[in-house]
């Protein structure tokens, strides 16, 4: 690693590569001063195609990037941009029908010897994986063998690469577990994956990737499946290990804010090509590609993405929604004591405003939303919507009538639309259910609502699977609005969407609220989004409401420790905010000043026009 590698002085040794896209910039991923001079990994002109029934699909079209030893390069892009394909090519794990068409991937060894990875035989790949290149997979819940202990899984790479001595493997496994932050390594090594939380499993996977101290770590969306507070600690761990082992990290992420916090170099991908690349600070401070600017403008943790006129509810008026001492118990298997999912939740929502329920998975926020929309009767407590006591409604006619005033929009737009119905059929169904209007007025209403959510008319005849995720979510919103409800419960309604689509839907929701005077209950895990769309907020943890009040007050001056933790965990507090390089990021601790300091970069005027 200390070997001099003179070619780094030439900024783009791949400038002559024939497949270089016109838009790629000079000075690909400069290595920050002070680290080793040669790139550890160098990808140039990479082209990858997939053979499918419809012919060859070009997933990656000429990608250049470098990873320096001890540094982190982030590959940022939305779903379908080809970023995972690049990562799979680097570790030789492309799907069977994928093939590298052109370009080169070179990995530099400790002695300065470079090895070309494209076209390597499978046998040599097996030697490289684990020893030279480690992979941290995306989904910790499905990446560990459920019938083997954590210790056995982490020991696997050691055994595969020729370790025979059981005691030595065991010692090494315990050492690794301790390094990734497990409190009682010996006990943890004997546990099975289902006994660990998502964050713990991801730590175990990181330990497995680190077992043989590879020079290059590929982290493919390592935290997308984790809660925000856990995400921060896992990323901190990767950072820390990178510093202590000197490994280079290729971080694949859809979240520009995460990349902004952690990476030295950024490569922004779209449609299989590089839109922009360069040192992270430079790309973030002065993005050159329009797409990068759009990504930045739409990232709620970096910029103000929604303009909304704060509604001014009449303080004398009765709130549209009143929740009092809500309590929900679930019978738990094998135990007489029921599981308490929600306890003592109370809040009011004035008509025309947005109230946010914020919390991590398991906090009970969805349970509250379902109780309010009449899908589950709570164990105790009262819910009043415009004077109707929801908990007292009997199934059948009263409940059906109530549903006209409260509508729920689900998180997953892929699951909430019947795959066999046309979009027009989906939109007309609520009207048909209530026998509203005639066939032709229902059709007219469906078309009008397509307009309302900004979808073209020809969508009406299509089926859900012919639409993108964002379009589907627009359909789901249109279906909720067609009955002209007063209250719309949005259960993580933008969480499954790419950031630019998410910003569009958030703007759509803000516009609809203004035009139609809607009241929203906005359920989300993302404080950055909540800050921009909500007027009041309840912060929930493990079924308890730990804090509530106006958004401005709660987020600027959080009283509860948990709110402070959530705020601190929002990515995007890194170089962009402080203008300092990585490492200057304050430790994530309760009450850290960055929680309030982060409002600085929010530029309401933004760069979107």
């Amino acid at each position: 690693m200390s070997a001099p590698a003179p070619d780094r002085t030439a900024p783009t040794p791949d400038r002559t590569a024939p497949n270089r896209p016109a838009r790629a910039l000079d000075g690909t991923a400069q290595v920050p001063d002070g680290t080793a001079p040669g790139p550890l990994l160098e990808v140039s002109g990479l082209q990858v195609g997939y053979r499918t029934r419809r012919g060859l699909v070009e997933a990656v079209r000429g990608v250049d990037l470098t990873v320096a030893p001890g540094a982190m390069t982030a590959l940022v892009g939305e779903s379908g941009s080809g970023k995972t394909t690049v990562a799979q090519s680097v570790i030789g794990l492309l799907a069977d029908n994928g093939r590298v068409g052109a370009g080169s991937i070179t990995l530099r060894g400790a002695g300065g010897t470079a090895e070309e990875l494209v076209g390597l035989p499978a046998r040599r790949w097996r030697e490289l994986r684990g020893t030279r290149i480690g992979l941290i997979p995306q989904d910790p819940s499905s990446s560990l063998d459920p019938v083997r202990t954590i210790g056995a899984s982490i020991g696997d790479p050691l055994r595969i690469h020729g370790w025979r001595d059981r005691d030595r493997i065991h010692t090494r496994v315990l050492d690794l577990l301790e390094r990734v932050g497990f409190d009682d390594p010996a006990a943890r090594a004997r546990q099975y994956p289902h006994e660990l939380s998502g964050g713990m499993r991801q730590r175990a996977l990181i330990a497995a990737a680190l077992a043989l101290e590879p020079d290059l770590l590929i982290a493919d969306e390592p935290t997308s499946a984790l809660d925000v507070t856990v995400q921060a600690t896992v990323l901190d761990l990767i950072d820390e290990l990178r510093e202590s082992t000197g490994a280079g990290v290729l971080l694949i992420t859809h979240d520009l804010a995460v990349a902004a916090d952690r990476a030295d170099a950024l490569v922004v991908m779209r449609h299989g090509a590089v839109e922009e690349s360069g040192p992270a600070r430079q790309v973030l401070a002065a993005p050159e590609a329009g797409y990068t600017r759009a990504l930045l403008a739409d990232a709620p943790s970096l910029r103000q993405v929604v303009q909304r006129r704060p509604p001014a509810p009449d303080p004398q008026a009765v709130p549209l929604l009143q929740v009092r001492d809500l309590r929900q118990e679930f019978a738990s298997r094998g135990s007489r004591v029921p599981f308490l999912a929600v306890d003592r939740i109370s809040f009011d929502v004035a008509a025309g405003t947005t109230h946010a329920l914020v919390g991590e998975s398991g906090s009970g926020k969805t349970t509250v939303g379902r109780a309010i929309s009449g899908f589950r009767r709570p164990t105790a407590g009262s819910i009043q919507v415009a004077g109707t006591e929801v908990t007292a409604l009997s199934a059948g006619r009263p409940l059906r009538e109530f549903r006209r005033s409260v509508q729920l929009v689900h998180q997953n737009p892929f699951g909430s639309l019947d795959p066999r119905q046309s979009i027009a059929g989906i939109l007309e169904e609520p009207l048909r259910n209530y026998r509203l209007g005639t066939r032709s007025t229902r059709q007219a209403a469906a078309r009008e609502h397509l307009d309302l959510v900004g979808l073209p008319q020809d969508v009406a005849e299509r089926r859900p699977r012919e639409l993108s995720g964002g379009q589907r979510q627009r359909v789901a919103i249109a279906r909720a609005l067609i009955l002209q409800p007063q209250l719309v419960v949005l259960d993580e309604a933008v969480s499954a969407l790419d950031v630019t689509v998410q910003a569009q839907i958030l703007r759509l929701l803000a516009r609809l609220q203004e035009d139609l005077g809607l009241t929203y209950l906005f359920i989300s895990h993302d404080l950055a989004v909540v800050r921009q769309v909500a007027d009041t907020v309840s912060v929930m943890r493990r079924g308890q409401q730990v804090e509530q009040g106006p958004v401005a007050r709660v987020l600027e001056d959080p009283h509860h420790e948990y709110t402070q933790q959530l705020l601190a965990a929002i990515p995007g507090g890194g170089p962009v905010t402080a203008g300092t390089p990585r490492g200057g990021r304050p430790p994530v601790t309760a009450g850290s000043p960055i929680t309030t300091g982060r409002s600085v970069p929010l530029r309401p005027e933004g760069s979107r026009a």
Partner: protein, 328 residues
């Protein structure tokens, strides 16, 4: 859309309208065109259109959608059997009960399957027997499909005590061996092709009930069903509009599978003498009649037996193809 549909269907042969094969092919076509639309629908205003890359990387090589020779062959076999059943005169002009030559003649150009102990043409009898066997199997499957699916849908959608009662009854049905059950039903109803068919249908009620209940349970948990309740739907309306269409495909695949096994079971009943009375050229009965001559006239048992086996195998293969398309 229509272009791609045509392209996918044409390799089979365009004339397969009424057969199960056309169902199979059009399923494939919709799946394929949907995939085209999903990744090709780039005109999305949301900019999330570029799913092509990920979709391509997660989809296994597209072999699944090609119609394999086995499927085509199975479709042809089944079509032929169906044609025999519907228009036997076209394939064998003689009467299945008329004596046309010397008894127990080996297969020849004049008598493809040879003649039986009373000099009747065996090929003619097999062709004419198709209507008895296949129509009886259709009746059997219809009985099982309607009764079983109704029970399964009721159990799956109502839940609680009703579900428990229905499913325990189904368990009892499953506990009795199929042949024993159908024999008992035939004895209760009296002998004959129709009664044998009903008896065979009764034995398949349990499997249909179980499968449809499990599908209904899965679909009922889906978000679009909850969303349908949320937009004011009533239980019967939602069952009809969302649950049934979305649980149908595996049930249809099972129906195709059951068709094969019903042919086999009806032949078994005929062989044992509980089906059609002797002059009828029912397949099981044909094999039974040849049983006494196995040593001297092998064709009497072997050739009808091969026909039954071929038809049953063909339905099995097609049912698998339908099931696979559903998972796509």
């Amino acid at each position: 859309m229509s272009a791609s549909t045509l392209r996918t269907v044409s390799p089979v042969s365009p004339s397969h309208e009424p057969s199960p094969a056309s169902g199979d092919a059009s399923l494939g076509a919709t799946a394929a065109s949907a995939a085209t639309a999903a990744s090709g629908g780039a005109a999305a205003p949301d900019g999330a259109s570029a799913t092509g890359g990920t979709a391509a990387s997660t989809t296994p090589p597209g072999r699944r959608r090609t119609l394999r020779p086995g499927v085509v062959l199975s479709a042809l076999v089944l079509l032929l059997a169906l044609a025999w059943a519907l228009l036997p005169q076209l394939f064998a002009g003689q009467s299945p009960t008329a004596t046309v030559g010397p008894a127990l003649q080996a297969p020849s150009a004049a008598h493809w399957f040879g003649t039986d102990s009373t000099g009747r043409d065996l090929y003619t009898r097999v062709v004419h027997g198709a209507s008895h066997s296949i129509l009886a199997a259709t009746v059997a499957v219809t009985v099982g499909l309607i009764a079983g699916t109704t029970l399964g849908v009721i159990a799956g959608s109502l839940g609680g005590l009703v579900e428990d009662a229905i499913m325990r009854l189904v368990d009892v049905l499953l506990a009795i061996p199929g042949l024993l059950l159908s024999l008992s039903v035939v004895i209760l109803l009296g002998f004959g092709t129709t009664n044998a068919a009903i008896a065979v249908g009764v034995t398949s009620i349990a499997t249909f009930a179980r499968l449809s209940r499990s599908r209904v349970l899965a679909v009922r948990r889906s978000e679009y069903v909850e969303a349908a309740f949320g937009s004011g739907g009533t239980l019967p309306g939602i069952l009809w509009r969302h649950v049934l269409p979305n649980s149908a495909a595996p049930v249809v695949a099972l129906a195709a599978l059951q068709l094969g096994s019903a042919i086999l079971q009806i032949s078994t009943l005929g062989f044992l003498g509980y089906g059609a009375p002797p002059p009828t050229p029912e397949w099981g009965l044909l094999i039974a009649e040849g049983r006494d001559y196995v040593a001297t006239a092998w064709w009497l048992t072997l050739l009808p037996g091969l026909v039954v086996a071929a038809v049953v195998l063909a339905t099995n293969r097609l049912s698998t193809a339908i099931g696979q398309e559903d998972q796509a």
